[in-house]
C-alpha cells in the first residue's frame, strides 16, 4: 500500500522538490557536537538557514562518537531546516537501522544518506566491534523497500505503509579501482538511490573524467548527482586531507595556492594569516562551484565546510546561488 499524501513525490522533501523541478540544488553539512549540547546545533542551524536546501547530519563520522545523526536532525527540524540524516553500516544492524528509520520518519525527517562508514580504527573507540550486518547497497534497498513496498527487510508488511524517504548514497570519484567506480554508482542507482553526494573534489580533471563515464552510462538521468565541494581553511588543512584522509585526493595545485595566500605575511601575525587563508579558501571554492556547474550530469553541490559553517553563505552567495528556490 503506497502513501499518496506526497503529491506524486517519493517523500516530498524540500531537496526532492528542488531537484525534481530542475533547480541546481545546494546542500550543506553539519557535524553534531561531541556532547549533548543542543545549543551547538541551533547556532550552526542559524548560519545555514535560507542558504541551503537541506543539511546533512553526519553519523559518528571518522568513527568518533558524536550526538546521533537522527537526534541532531530532529533539532534541525525544530529550527525550520531540512535534515538529511546519515546512516552508516558500521554501528547498526538491520534491526536498529529499520527501528531508527521508523523513528526518524515519525519525527519529521525525510532524507537519508546510506553509507558504509569509516573503519572504527580511525576514531576514538578503536577497540569496538563493528557491525556491517548489511552494506550500503543493501541499506539502500532496505530503505526503498520500506518506502515503495511498505515492507521490512524480512518481508513483513508495515501497517499503513512504510516510512517515505528520499534516498541518498555517496560516490567517491577518487577511490580505486577508478574504472569500477561508475559501475558502483550504477549499482546504487539500481538499488534505489535517488540522489548522490560525492566526496570532496580537489582533483577537477579526475572528477570530469568520472562524470563523463557516468553520463555515458546514462546514470545522471537515474540519480541526481551533487558534487562535493568545500573551502580549504589553511595550507595545513589541505595537506592533512591529502595525506591523512582515506579515499581523498588533493591536487598539489590547491596546496600551492593556499601556501601562496600567506606569502608575505609574517608567521606571528596569526590573525592575518588565518584571514588570508580563509579568503583564498572561499575564492577557490567559488571557482570550483562554477567549474562543476558546467559539467554535464551535475545537478547540484554538497558543501562541506567542516567546522566553518560561516563560510557557507559567502560561498553560495558568491557563486550566485542565492536566494534558494521555494518549491511547494
Amino acid at each position: 500500500m503506497t502513501n499518496t499524501a506526497t503529491n506524486g513525490y517519493k517523500a516530498s522533501s524540500n531537496l526532492e522538490r528542488v531537484l525534481t523541478k530542475g533547480y541546481f540544488a545546494v546542500t550543506g553539512e553539519l557535524g553534531p557536537p561531541k556532547s549533548q549540547d543542543a545549543e551547538v546545533i541551533r547556532k550552526k542551524a542559524a548560519l545555514l538557514k535560507g542558504v541551503v536546501d537541506a543539511v546533512n547530519l553526519t553519523d559518528n563520522q571518522t568513527a568518533i562518537v558524536r550526538m546521533s545523526s537522527i537526534a541532531a536532525g530532529v533539532l534541525l527540524v525544530r529550527e525550520g531546516l531540512e535534515p538529511i540524516i546519515q546512516m552508516t553500516c558500521r554501528d547498526r544492524n538491520r534491526l536498529a537501522m529499520q527501528a531508527d528509520l521508523l523513528g526518524a520518519c515519525a519525527l519529521g525527517i525525510k532524507n537519508v544518506l546510506c553509507l558504509t562508514g569509516d573503519h572504527q580504527s580511525f576514531g576514538n573507540h578503536p577497540f569496538a566491534k563493528n557491525v556491517h550486518d548489511v552494506d550500503s547497497l543493501q541499506l539502500i534497498q532496505i530503505v526503498k523497500g520500506l518506502r515503495d513496498e511498505g515492507k521490512f527487510q524480512c518481508g513483513e508488511e508495515i501497517k499503513g505503509g512504510g516510512p517515505r524517504f528520499f534516498i541518498g548514497a555517496a560516490a567517491n570519484p577518487f577511490g580505486d579501482p577508478f574504472e569500477y567506480r561508475p559501475y558502483r554508482l550504477a549499482k546504487k542507482a539500481a538499488a534505489g538511490a535517488d540522489f548522490i553526494q560525492t566526496q570532496l573534489i580537489y582533483d577537477m580533471p579526475r572528477f570530469r573524467e568520472f562524470m563523463k563515464r557516468v553520463v555515458d552510462l546514462g546514470l545522471h538521468e537515474k540519480v541526481k548527482i551533487l558534487a562535493g565541494v568545500g573551502p580549504l581553511k589553511s595550507s595545513g588543512a589541505a595537506k592533512y586531507m591529502r595525506d591523512q584522509v582515506p579515499g581523498m585526493i588533493v591536487a598539489d595545485e590547491y596546496v600551492d595556492r593556499m601556501e601562496g595566500a600567506v606569502a608575505g605575511i609574517p608567521k606571528e601575525d596569526k590573525k592575518g594569516r588565518a584571514a588570508a587563508w580563509r579568503a583564498a579558501g572561499i575564492k577557490i571554492c567559488i571557482e570550483q562551484i562554477q567549474q562543476v556547474r558546467e559539467i554535464e550530469g551535475v545537478a547540484g553541490i554538497h558543501i562541506m565546510a567542516i567546522e566553518w559553517e560561516e563560510a557557507v553563505r559567502p560561498l553560495v552567495e558568491g557563486a550566485g546561488l542565492l536566494p534558494r528556490p521555494v518549491v511547494d
Partner: protein
C-alpha cells in the same frame, strides 16, 4: 590451517604464578606448521620459563610432551595417568586444543600459551594471512575465489567502499583491498557482469551470530553401545 602465535612470556609467567609443577603440551598439527606450538616450540618455551621463573625466585618445574592432535580425545587420553603429577597444564594448542584438554581433564587447571588468530595460510615463509571466517555459507563461487567476509575489513558483499586506494584497504597499507582483488580476478575471468548484480543481505545464521555451531552426521555415528 589454524594460525596461532605464542603469548608474551610475561603473560604466561603471570598465569603460572600459583603453580609448582607444570606440563607443557604441544600439538603436532596446525600449530606445528605455523611454528607456534609444536615439539620444538614446546622445548624452547619450557626452557625459557624454567629460567625466567627461577630468576623470579619461584622456580617452576616444567615437563614437556607433544601429542599428534590436541583436538581429539583419542590423542590426549593417553596423558590421563601422567597428569596426576602436575598442578597445571600449559597448552600450546590452539583454542580448540586448550578446551579439549580442559573438557577431558576437568580436575586439572589448563592454561592457554597461545593466542589463536585465524584460519589462513603462509603466503611466504614467515608470513601468514587470514583467509576464512567460517561463515558457514561459502560464496567463493561468486567472487572469483576471494572471500570478502574474511578479507574485506568491512565484510562488504557489494564492495569496494570509498576508502580503497591503490589496491590497499583504508585500515592498513599491508592489507590488500579484497574488492580490488575480486574486481581484478573477475575481470581476468571475464565475469564482470556478475559484479553488477547486487548481493542481498547475508544470512548470518550459519555464522557465529547464530550461536555456537554444531554438525551432526547421523550416517557416521556409532551405535549407542559403542559411543564414548
Amino acid at each position: 590451517m589454524i594460525v596461532a602465535e605464542q603469548k608474551p612470556l610475561a603473560e604466561i609467567k603471570e598465569m603460572l604464578e600459583a603453580y609448582q609443577k607444570v606440563l607443557v603440551v604441544g600439538c603436532g598439527t596446525c600449530v606445528t606448521v605455523c611454528l607456534a606450538g609444536g615439539e620444538k616450540e614446546v622445548g624452547i618455551l619450557a626452557s625459557a620459563l624454567r629460567m625466567a621463573t627461577k630468576l623470579d625466585g619461584h622456580g617452576v618445574a616444567m615437563d614437556e610432551v607433544t601429542v599428534q592432535r590436541q583436538c581429539e580425545w583419542e590423542y590426549i587420553d593417553p596423558l590421563r595417568e601422567r597428569l596426576t603429577d602436575y598442578d597445571a597444564i600449559l597448552s600450546l594448542g590452539c583454542g580448540v586444543g586448550v578446551q579439549t584438554l580442559a573438557e577431558r581433564f576437568p580436575g586439572k587447571r589448563v592454561l592457554p600459551g597461545l593466542n589463536t588468530k585465524f584460519m589462513g595460510l603462509p603466503i611466504e615463509q614467515g608470513i601468514w594471512e587470514e583467509r576464512c571466517q567460517a561463515c558457514g555459507d561459502c560464496i567463493l563461487d561468486l567472487t572469483g575465489g576471494i572471500c570478502p567476509i574474511a578479507r574485506c575489513s568491512k565484510q562488504l558483499l557489494n564492495g569496494p567502499c570509498g576508502g580503497s586506494q591503490n589496491g590497499k584497504c583504508e585500515v592498513s597499507k599491508e592489507t590488500s583491498c579484497a574488492w580490488q582483488l575480486i574486481w581484478e580476478r573477475m575481470t581476468a575471468l571475464g565475469m564482470l557482469d556478475r559484479l553488477m548484480q547486487i548481493q542481498p543481505p547475508k544470512d548470518w545464521r550459519t555464522s557465529r551470530d547464530g550461536g555456537p555451531r554444531r554438525i551432526v552426521r547421523d550416517d557416521l555415528r556409532l551405535p549407542e553401545e559403542y559411543r564414548d
